[in-house]
């Protein structure tokens, strides 16, 4: 396996080439996402069709 690091000024991407394949690793500023399943009891029954909620912080 041949790996070659590419030197760039990238802040959020790591870029390297392995056996003629460019591998781009995305590591950007993040958000926390809480995923709640089967949340019908969590929220009002009137909107009980919802079975998945995302809370992005």
């Amino acid at each position: 396996m041949r790996a070659m690091s590419i030197s760039t000024n990238l802040k959020h991407l790591k870029y390297k080439v392995v056996d003629n394949v460019a591998v781009l690793t995305l590591d950007s500023p993040g958000v926390k996402v809480y995923i709640i399943y089967n949340s019908t009891s969590f929220i009002n029954n009137s909107i009980n069709k919802i079975n998945l909620i995302f809370i992005v912080i």
Binding site: N20, G30, V33, F54, V56
Partner: protein
């Protein structure tokens, strides 16, 4: 989760240009540097900086151009996706040629549920209009 802000999008654009010109590279793999998640989508914090509707349009249009480059890349693009993938992350998923999916993936498109917004920098809407 990773977010796609303007800085990230421009970096992706730069790298794709570099890769397209590099004949030694024959394919591309996108992976996440954060374990258990891929991409959440656009960075909603940038919405705060919009002063006019045109500001939002400009950001969305620039992002759509970069998404289009991903879609039309001459080199096959693979996304290795483990964990959750939402909103604009799903747009990336839709654009690429091949996916490697891992168990326990969570794909959902309901980010517009809590955002009065169009997902993926409006790419879904622009695709609908084509």
């Amino acid at each position: 989760m990773n977010v796609l802000n303007s800085e990230v999008m421009y970096e992706i654009d730069d790298v794709l240009k570099n890769i397209e010109q590099n004949s030694a590279i024959n394919s591309i793999i996108f992976i996440s540097g954060k374990p258990g998640c891929f991409v959440a989508g656009a960075d909603i914090n940038i919405i705060r900086s919009f002063k006019t509707p045109e500001d939002g349009y400009k950001i969305a249009f620039e992002a759509q151009k970069i998404f289009e480059k991903i879609e039309k890349s001459k080199k096959p693009i693979i996304a290795a996706i483990q964990g959750s993938c939402l909103g604009g992350g799903l747009e990336v998923y839709n654009l690429i040629n091949l996916y490697i999916l891992f168990l326990q993936n969570i794909f959902h498109y309901y980010s517009h549920f809590y955002l009065i917004d169009v997902d993926g920098y409006g790419l879904s809407l622009s695709n609908c209009c084509k």
